[in-house]
Symmetry: C2
Subunit: 754 residues, 2 copies
Amino acid sequence: MKTGYFHEKKYIIKDMEPVRPLVNYIWNEEFLIKLDHNASGFSFAKVGYNTRRTVIADGEGSRLVYLKDRKTGEYFCVNRPFTKEPHDSLHTEVGCGVQTVIGEKYGLRGTFTVTAPMQGYGELWRVEVENTQNAERELSLYVHAMLGIDYTGHCSYNLCRWSDTVGGLFCSHDIYHEGGKKLHDYPHVYFCADQPVNSFATSQTAFKGLYRTYAEPVALEQDSLNNHGGSYDDYPSGALELRLTLAPGEKKTVCFAAGISRNEQEAAQQVKMLLKPGAFEEVLTQRKAKSLAAEQVFQMETGNTYMDTLVNVWLKNQIDLGKTWARVYGKGFRDVMQDVAAFVSFDPKTAREKILLCLSHQFPNGNTIRMFEPFLRYPYMDGAAWIPETVLAYLNESGNLDFLQENCPYFECDETGTVLEHIRRGMKFLTTQLGEHGLCLWGGGDWNDSINAAGLLGKGESVWLTIATVKALKTFVEILGLLGEREEAEMWRGHICRLTNAVNTYGWDGDHYIYGYTDHGEKVGSNENAEGQFYLNPQTWAVLAGIATGEKGSKLMDQVEARLHCPYGYVQCTPSYTKGDPHIGRASYFIPGCVENGSVYNHGVTFKVAADCALGRGADAYRTVCEILPDNPELESSGVEPYAMTNMYLGPENPYSAKFAPCSWITGTAGWMYRCITEYLLGVQSTFNGLRLKPCIPAELDNTKITRQYRGATYHIHICFGKGSMVCDGQAVQGDILPIFPAGTEHCVTVYTN
Amino acid sequence: MKTGYFHEKKYIIKDMEPVRPLVNYIWNEEFLIKLDHNASGFSFAKVGYNTRRTVIADGEGSRLVYLKDRKTGEYFCVNRPFTKEPHDSLHTEVGCGVQTVIGEKYGLRGTFTVTAPMQGYGELWRVEVENTQNAERELSLYVHAMLGIDYTGHCSYNLCRWSDTVGGLFCSHDIYHEGGKKLHDYPHVYFCADQPVNSFATSQTAFKGLYRTYAEPVALEQDSLNNHGGSYDDYPSGALELRLTLAPGEKKTVCFAAGISRNEQEAAQQVKMLLKPGAFEEVLTQRKAKSLAAEQVFQMETGNTYMDTLVNVWLKNQIDLGKTWARVYGKGFRDVMQDVAAFVSFDPKTAREKILLCLSHQFPNGNTIRMFEPFLRYPYMDGAAWIPETVLAYLNESGNLDFLQENCPYFECDETGTVLEHIRRGMKFLTTQLGEHGLCLWGGGDWNDSINAAGLLGKGESVWLTIATVKALKTFVEILGLLGEREEAEMWRGHICRLTNAVNTYGWDGDHYIYGYTDHGEKVGSNENAEGQFYLNPQTWAVLAGIATGEKGSKLMDQVEARLHCPYGYVQCTPSYTKGDPHIGRASYFIPGCVENGSVYNHGVTFKVAADCALGRGADAYRTVCEILPDNPELESSGVEPYAMTNMYLGPENPYSAKFAPCSWITGTAGWMYRCITEYLLGVQSTFNGLRLKPCIPAELDNTKITRQYRGATYHIHICFGKGSMVCDGQAVQGDILPIFPAGTEHCVTVYTN
């Protein structure tokens, strides 16, 4: 890695001036922090249905720790230099749910750790200060936080002050709610230390100065902070100064808490709890335990240690973010659904809750809202297609067939229905909203958000969505099979047949599947188009849906290899659009190589990996995985964090920034990558009746060792190249499904592949 | 002044670290720049009905000029130090429609001037570089602009590059317009120099570096900029580098243009025009001519040279901003109307257009929208009350009675009506929307925006609005008098009588007028209230409307003196609210001393000055003017620009920031201050039949000399303390109205006052 290295479930960032900021997220179910490698970034709380409230605002000043030698006046910002003058040492340790920046200068070592409790609306900081010199030091420790106070734009509501009740800064923006429509109940933000504070400031102006930078805050040149509250401040923030005297080699620790509250008393109670002795360490212990639990569900040793680290630790962490916060800017129905399908084995109970949360955002007609928290009501059509697979994944992992009979409301109406009925209505929606070719209507779009104008007039049809519907129906038929509902299954098989025929009749372009037909009857993704002639997803999904099998499937994937491959994956379509087409929408207006317009869109690439495996092309699958993983040398300057998947690398047709990965974490790629490696490549698949082992790996992964928990039992699995029956605890096993064992038992399995 | 001094129609800022940034605006009818004293700030263009588009984005990096000595590597940012290390000299010259920052260091003087052409969507920069040393210098001149490109949040549309066609940077964000709803036609922004550019960059990342500050941009340490375009850049900007060789003492000049365009060709044409030789100087000449024209309309010499400077130059400039852009964040109907009433003498033709623009935002029922560009549809009720005075001011200044018969559309409907009918409908609205006390309904509010919940249920009544309606009706009656419409005038006189009775019966609180009754029948602004017992505006307007005259008026103003006065003016209400009241609204939730909750709200204070004059209390009026003018020593640390009025000083009850003036320029105070001084104190009033001279001044203003243009003639006026008839060109004049003279003639007038 160019930026650092992995060490004991942490990623150590050594290059503190990376191509772009390296991001980490820390979250619980109601609170989220986004940090860069300097620990700058925002945090927010979910304070009501569809309502968020900033706790720490974004920006350079969001979280800063300074140390000043009071005798010499020398000072430095522990977690960010801001200047070309380097620290004596500076690095960051990224962990799951925790992050530490360690900076050293002037014989002082500052260790700044940020985390969040497992619940509640607050963040916790710990600052450790060590005197590395041989003389006693008198220090001022300053912390600065961009307290999120001014969220309605009316400075007249701003009041920032010291509160003795809270024992720290207490800043308010307590507004008049127009027409009684209360936005939320949390007008206050607090910022406190667990030790006596010598001075405080409530404003960036007082701390940094209006005309300076954070490299040289004016307050650091003064003896103390100004101890001044503020109202009508355009630039509110919070700063605290503490005095520390350190003997040679001595180390002292101070903890801080920032959070929101409904009133001063509640803030005081929270602070007391958050800053009680040992609270910080307890949170770290809880976070470790949580990570460990997920790690133990699936552990692998494949010989590719980087991939092992990702799968064993980091992808799980990223998937947990996905199942909780989805894309952070909003919770896409399909996004959460897919992330839960990957998450289900770590914690089936939570997975169940998340599925029900999603289904409560399904309209009674079977379609779903595109995104909730906040709502995005654009008429996307694919939501329902993602339901069966995730429900089946839950059933398989949990064995809890009763789930299908649980009741769940529909969105924005009084109706409720069983989970089974939710799926059924979804399938009904997809199989009745058909166009003149018998293909699914495209509406405002499907997986491809950015083909958002092809079907707005109600005529355009999506071949991809039709294929996805076939796949969803086959999964639903499998669920019905578990229930013994043969008659209904038969009815849906009829739809599968009709839709498959339509796909093969009207979706086939001679050598590949097109993406669809616009409202104006024009093909998208056809050889007859000038641009966007060939799309990745219709091909891979045709394979995954069992529409293109055997020889046809292989030929199709050969086309994919020939037309979409680049040294760091597969582009979403080719050639990229250079000319906006209002019959297609956004995708065609994007600069070539961006997102759906010809980037290596990794979510799509993982579908390709799964399709490879479905056709037994394990070597292609593994090579593809390696190409899009951050350690591909081609991607050295992509900017991507080695510990997180990115949604895309800008495609080779991008004029200036090919390979760049602007964004990471918030992508369905993590869940699919996890499933591609564990379920498709290594072939460890939970089924309703037992754990299936069906590896599809290249020679590099021979001799892979896996530990998998399933229904409470632990399976130690060894995958070897060779021929022979699977052996479990010394006994040959017929077929590829292992028996279900009593919870708490452990079993050794050897499976042969070739 | 603490921050600088006035010099030849410029304000020279010497203190370059003022309490808050000192703001200047530069504008034409379709484009606006907001600058601070470092020339940082945004600019935008009006690119369609109710649609704006950023040209330069706000922030530290918005406009920066650096000079680097290529031999020594020493560099500095001409217009802002960013560090504690000072320039050898640094100051700013604020002019009308132009601003210059001059910074000197390392033997180099950089002079950076910003202006905007008189029309069009662009800004112009001129950088003069002077070598003040005795050796030849090889320099790099860098300019950095935060080009406003990413305005929809989708980075995938971003494309920044060098264009040979344009001859400079050409950056685009050419989006897909959902549902064909085009936001505007200007996706491109350009940034060019009038001389060969050696290198360029298109990104803050490339220029400043992601982890640095503008004190130490990474690019300055390199030989050239990186000559790299960008797409999908989170931090687009534009930087240009030019090489200059300067002999000892030599000075070179480079001009730059930034603007927006519909396409590359249009950008090329604009750049050619904006950067043609002499173009910059031509703009300065045009701007000077424009200012001079306004200055010549009214020139005074009162002995208070600061006040003279404000009235002769700066208030006119500020009023011109108001009539064009109102509060900049939006154009309030009443805001533009009031600013035009002050502006009318400078350019009656434009005033006429602005009145018609406003009236086209009047609903057919006579009420008006609160704000346009962008729309604010909250149900404020006072819009119509501001129409008659401005129309009359136009009639008086222009003598163009036909204006009343001009047709003008109503808002968002097919109806049109004459200007007279617009006024009539407004008066009808105000006199029919009455509550149970016969007072005007309060609705969502009146002048006091922040009492925005007292009448939402349709029952609350505003005493102030009733008083304002009486005043408006009296003005309308005056207009009808010009038309000889006696019968209709008589009808309106009946309304005046009824409303006056209602005000005196239900609005009188024993010693003052209350503000009104809430929906729940509670009084606001009464002695019986716990907070907000006494409001300024109902008292001053009762005087201005002729409801409280003579002794009653004087006693009322004595109450104002006793209850609202502080050393820097008069608070809007007392005591400030400390407890939010949902029956009142926003004002009561604001922190004490903020805006309508007990600040010295200067717009209201100017009404008080006018009321003083109406009662002949000239000394009080003048003292009040002096108290709120920025040179009041009490306000030394208020932050206000000496060349602009501020809307408020935080009131004495504010817990932390009393006296602070957070914001300036965008306030009705400028127009009213101008009218208070010229029309009320000095008493130079245009009437339909001639210029009236009716001074009401204290002894300090004895011997005031004024030059006033009116209907094309020029009046040289001398105001003296003493008794006697007014003398014009050696002839005694009966009454206080001077005759109308032929255009082009000049006349000497002496008027006596006591």
